[in-house]
Subunit: 445 residues, 2 copies
């Protein structure tokens, strides 16, 4: 399901590789991936996508068909094509574990490899880290807002393609969602699946009650009835009327779903109807245009909603559908490097991020340092791949990552949990890193 | 590259299918896909994604491994699983050709099939049509703004996953872009590929001029030099100094690329430097944070830029990363159906869209009508699939779709070509369709 083609790259990677190949520029290069600045309203980010990056690197190889096709494009000489045919990824990778909270300019992944290998993979490495980090960071906001409510990813249909849908399910589950409606993601990653019925099921029957009955009979263990096709409150009354009949057949109604109108108001009405009908245990699930801002509003209106399906706004990260991020050369052939383009200058060399906590375990500040520098705090980047192979013991099941991400979110300072950015988390650059940058600049004259 | 798994669906499709199966609800259902409203600043949309939808439908079948997995989930009875194992798509499809300009509430695709088949495919049909239509509609805005400038898709790295990157390349090419940097998309769809060098190539050399020389020697037919790694104007001077040496080796510099700072101002400076250095034929290509709004600004500043790489804002449709669209049941077992949920009511039955033009061939208004009604204008939906097989002669090569899309864009009224919505294109509902809706409503009581 997750694409692994070596041709998932930009043409310029291959034309550059042709240059490196011709001039035997195959010494060790160090690239780091980082986010340049926080998207609108974000106070922190959640790293995600590493597992897919490592799988991609470990299996990187041009297929015979890809090599044949490349040779027909007219861009490449035949000896270079032969070189590509034998290319694999043989480098090392250091990274923050998935689920780690991080901030701008902090590298979350470093690749150390022969220059052509490290260069070729840039496009797909960014593509994988950018998207899952974007979605995990978005999802974490809903998780912080939802308290103990159930959150389910409903976004596949409006995700940007199949892979986006499946990876959004993974990233949101990692960030604390309870599951997804996307069947493929359930199979691929073992994510719990949720879902019951759509309006078309109701519409295809001449009578709404008959539709409810038939659905319950066919899916007796998972009876959540969609009650807004014609009139939400009338739908709730029909559920109350139907309950004794189903109960006699040994079928329990688990919940109802609302998908249109003023969800908080309908929820209050429906709760009353259900309670008056003796259905206190039947839960209310809501969907349709929901995001973390809506969750905050529902909370302040004390909407009696037990769970939410969050779709489009989550899977497209609608209020911030991209991040300004980069994968930049930091060192080549043992010499630290730096890009100085206007507005896009980077810190040179291999770096480590140290995080400090107060006595309650709350994060109080990060230092971006030179990799071998000793600093206060917990170092966040760890070795995860060596010589092109994932290091045994560094992989964690998704379920475990999910739990550790929850622990991380508990260490966030209170103000960072708000839906708008009230203050910036303190991240400082170590003196040693500043000096290194200065020395690199003096090297260019 | 484009995923075809039958499990690319939401769980509720399968639980509903279990209901249809149990109650033998397999009569013919008619679903239509349409956009409910225009995204911000959009005045029209461009239909795209049909080819991938038809390929998906034609090849739809659960694999043995998928069937085995489904039977382990606990959601489904074994006779239903056996039924799924034999399921294929046997229905008919009518659609607007890709590249057709369309408006809210106009169906661009209709599926007529046994109910379970038409239901199951909903999630992936929306997923495919929504994304490519979103991107083609976004790309068309840049095409209208760019005049004769070259436009290239640079967005893979920040597209939402691999499939999004590849399909965004297709959708933007369809809408009039000249090509893409995404190698996979070149191979998959025959889209022309563009690309040369990144900052890392320059950074890996101690000397910028040496980097330029080496790149040119390795790629003599495609010399576009990135000149902003340290100082854009100094980079341009180095290109001028290098040109005679390359010329002596028979290598022509095609262009330079700018990727940071005030691109219009740098372009004016660089143009002067190149012209003064006798390099009048060397083109200027710009990238970095460009979208249609920037193109409009560059045009008004008469920036001497010959081509643009458009990335993140295109591939994520950044100012409108989703559309409010739906795939809704319009008829079941010969009876027109209608959803009446608040704010989400639909027009019932099978529909056709008729478009009228003035004497200059400019679009003047559409009518949404009952399918078999005779109306003024050109009918836009055509039969493209019958009994699960694509109708011979209805497929068009991507290159041809691209040309026809350009013809379509020429028929747009002038005000619809603006980057903000100044007026709504007139779309009316036929009297016969209004009467049908009324009759359907009276049927529910």
């Amino acid at each position: 399901m997750i694409a692994s083609d070596a041709l998932l790259t930009d043409l310029y990677q291959l034309t550059m590789l042709q240059g490196y190949y011709r001039h035997a520029m195959t010494e060790t290069a160090v690239f780091e991936f980082f986010v340049r600045k926080l998207p609108k309203n974000r106070s922190f980010l959640v790293a995600a996508g590493l597992e897919q990056v490592l799988d991609f690197l470990e299996n990187l190889r041009f297929s015979e068909a890809e090599i044949d096709w490349l040779s027909t494009t007219g861009h490449f000489k035949s000896d270079f094509i032969d070189y590509l045919a034998g290319l694999t990824f043989t480098g090392d990778v250091d990274a923050m574990p998935e689920g780690t909270v991080f901030f701008p300019n902090e590298p979350i992944l470093r690749i150390i490899a022969p220059f052509p290998e490290a260069q070729l993979v840039e496009s797909r490495v960014i593509n994988l880290l950018h998207f899952q980090t974007l979605i995990a960071s978005k999802a974490a906001r809903s998780v912080l807002m939802a308290g103990d409510k159930l959150l389910v990813d409903f976004g596949f249909r409006r995700a940007h393609g199949a892979e986006a849908g499946v990876l959004a399910a993974r990233a949101s589950y990692l960030a604390g969602f309870s599951g997804t409606a996307t069947v493929c993601a359930g199979r691929e990653f073992g994510i719990p699946l949720y879902g019951t019925m759509a309006h078309s099921f109701v519409q295809a029957h001449d009578d709404e009650s008959e539709a409810f009955l038939r659905f319950a009979e066919a899916n007796p263990d998972n009876v959540v009835l969609l009650i807004d096709t014609y009139d939400t409150e009338a739908g709730a009354q029909k559920v109350v009327a139907l309950a004794p009949k189903l109960q006699a057949a040994g079928i329990r109604i688990k919940g109802v779903r609302l998908d249109s109108g003023d969800l908080a108001e309908h929820a209050h009405n429906v709760r009353r109807i259900l309670d008056d009908g003796g259905l206190r245990k039947v839960t209310i699930f809501a969907s349709g245009g929901i995001d973390e801002y809506q969750l905050e509003a529902f909370r302040s209106r004390q909407a009696p909603i037990d769970g939410y399906g969050i779709g489009t706004y989550l899977d497209t990260s609608a209020d911030a559908p991209y991040m300004d991020c980069a994968y930049k050369l930091q060192e080549y052939a043992g010499v630290p490097r730096r890009k100085r383009s206007e507005g896009k200058a980077t810190w040179p060399g291999r770096k480590q991020v140290y995080r400090r906590f107060d006595l309650d375990g709350i994060m109080i500040g990060d230092t971006i340092a030179v990799d071998d520098e000793i600093c206060d705090g917990k170092p966040l980047l760890q070795a995860v791949m060596q010589n092109g192979r994932q290091i045994t013991g560094m992989q964690r099941p998704l379920e475990r990552i999910r739990l550790e991400t929850q622990d991380q979110l508990h260490t966030l300072p209170g103000k960072l949990k708000l839906l708008t950015r009230e203050e910036n988390y303190p991240v400082v650059i170590s003196d040693a890193l500043k000096h290194l940058a200065q020395r690199v600049d003096e090297g260019y004259s």
